[in-house]
Amino acid sequence: MRRKMLITLLLGLLFLGFNSTNVVAVKQPIIDRNYNGKTVEFDQEDLHYEILGYKVLSNPLPPSSDGDYNGLERYLVCTVKITNESSGKEASAEEVIAYDFMGWSGPNTLYAVRKPAHYENPEGTVTLETDSDSHNNSDTLKVSPGSSKTLSFFYIVYPDDNLNITVTGLSGTIENISLKRTNSNNGIVAD
């Protein structure tokens, strides 16, 4: 009787295990954070990241694109401050790559695009972009020990979507920062 129960239990566990493996894929760890209107801060290895804020620009507008017949697309600009906190003998400059900062418009990943011509960054802010056309090496930036850099990233988004930015830090962990969640009671249009 006891053996029978044990075997049944083990088989049950096997079944449970099987069930859960269906939906688990091997992935990098993800930390979810919410932008509360002030800043979001986190550390990865020697780098300290601060999401200073975001803005959906009503002007300038992005160039008209294929899918956007109704002209809904807007620029999203997100400002991030990165400080290299390493010190001492082994301190080294860290490289920040534009591909580590992905924008999200709803379920869609976005690469950082070039800064629009008629937009002025605040003093001291540098734009990183992944535009392959440009040859100005603006997709990477070195941050030397003890110093900090303020970066801006531009993405072309649909402003009514949920807006997120994911940052893959030095340690490989993905930080998923929710900038804005659209309220909707039916799931398809904003309230």
């Binding site: 088989l11 992935k27 709803g106 379920p107 649909y158 993905i174």
Partner: protein
């Protein structure tokens, strides 16, 4: 003088065996049912599994029946009249218990005999081995009570006086056909269990098949169209779950909406997708609508609409124009970001039933290992929600 019995351990162990067998077959069926994520066609596996299960079940039942039909010796008075031989399961050969070490008790509540011995002797390889004492219960469940009481009476008398006269006629009673009462159930019981287990297995298979993948069209349409089994066909119901190789989709809503300027009817599907593979990529290019899907129509690209035509759909809602939020456009990759997103897909509605296809691979080409399987969702206009 021998007390005979049917295998005393038979009753319980067989029941346990068949219960386990039953549980195993059910679990096996459920496991196969969960396999479609890895396997495209499960039917041969089902048949093979049930065939093997049935063969195993029948073999066991036959063995049980043979065991029921044969007899076993349990107690035997040795010719010297100084002791008995006990045939126990724990020992390959009988053990000899002299009367001096033997005590017989009859339990009060039921007609069982308890035989306890302090020590016993086992003859092995020409040597006598001393075996430690134990007690054995002779239950009415397995022996005929009259036979038991007769032989234990004789043993009790012999214990007092080895020269007592034994009435042999009384000790060899007319063969009672025990199979008629107690053994009847035991004999048929494996067969009954086998029958019921098979029926319930088939029933669970049908029920769980319905439960995991409601697909009344599947067989008929697939076979008639000479398509590989990479398309699964579903009737839409709100909140249903559809699993492909790479995703677990939950169709949260299907809305009927009007485009703001043209008043054309569109269907907006509100879907939650959970990534199950690192190869998974998804975009609006995967979704299209048909007025009557067939494998040929998909191969010939006879769709009404592609979701990438409607990336910026603006609809009328309560007299106002609003853009649909969180539309699936360029989509995401299984290796980036979260593995769980809720999004919308908009497609032109057919006049009657609309068939919405998620094409995991291109129908004109054969599916590669790193491409997903497809599904067809048949949406009845009455099932569409309004905002």
């Amino acid at each position: 003088m021998t007390l005979k019995m049917k295998s005393a351990v038979f009753d319980k162990s067989v029941r346990i065996w068949f219960e386990l067998y039953f549980v195993l077959v059910v679990i096996g069926t459920l496991l196969i049912n969960r396999l479609p994520l890895l396997l495209d066609n499960r039917n041969p596996l089902y048949l093979f599994f049930w065939f093997v299960a049935m063969v195993i079940g029948c073999l066991k039942a036959i063995r049980v029946k043979l065991a029921v039909d044969s007899e076993y010796r349990a107690v035997e008075i040795v010719e010297t009249r100084r002791g008995i031989n006990l045939y126990l399961r724990n020992y390959w050969r009988p053990i000899y218990v002299p009367f001096k070490w033997l005590k017989i008790k009859q339990s009060d509540e039921n007609n069982d005999f308890i035989l306890s011995y302090d020590k016993a002797i086992q003859f092995r390889f020409g040597k006598a081995l001393l075996v430690s004492g134990n007690q054995v219960e002779f239950s009415e469940k397995y022996f005929v009570f009259e036979e038991m009481s007769d032989i234990f009476d004789v043993i009790a008398n012999l214990q007092k006086d080895p020269n007592v006269v034994i009435d042999y006629d009384k000790l060899n009673p007319v063969e009672k056909n025990v199979t008629k009462d107690k053994w009847r159930t035991a004999k048929f019981f494996p067969w009954i269990l086998l029958g019921t287990s098979l029926v319930s297995v088939i029933l669970t298979a049908i029920i769980s098949d319905e439960f995991f993948s409601p697909s009344p069209y599947t067989l008929q349409m697939e076979t008639s169209l000479n398509s590989p089994n990479y398309h699964r066909i579903y009737d839409y119901s709100k909140g249903m779950t559809i699993s492909t190789n790479f995703y677990k989709f939950k169709i949260l809503h299907a809305y009927k909406v009007q485009e703001a300027d043209t008043d054309d009817d569109y269907i907006v599907l509100n879907i939650n997708a959970k990534t199950a593979s690192e190869y998974a990529t998804i975009s609006d290019g995967n979704f299209m609508s048909f007025d009557n899907w067939s494998m040929k129509a998909e191969k010939d690209s006879n769709e009404i609409d592609d979701a990438n035509n409607n990336e910026d759909l603006v609809i009328k809602t309560h007299g106002r124009k609003k853009g649909v939020i969180n539309m699936l456009r360029s989509g995401w990759d299984g290796s980036e970001g979260n593995d769980n997103y809720t999004f919308n897909v908009a497609l032109k509605k057919a006049s009657g039933r609309t068939d919405i296809v998620y094409a995991g691979f291109q129908a004109i080409l054969s599916k590669s290992k790193h491409e997903d399987t497809s599904f067809v969702l048949k949406i009845n206009p009455n099932d569409l929600e309004k905002i």
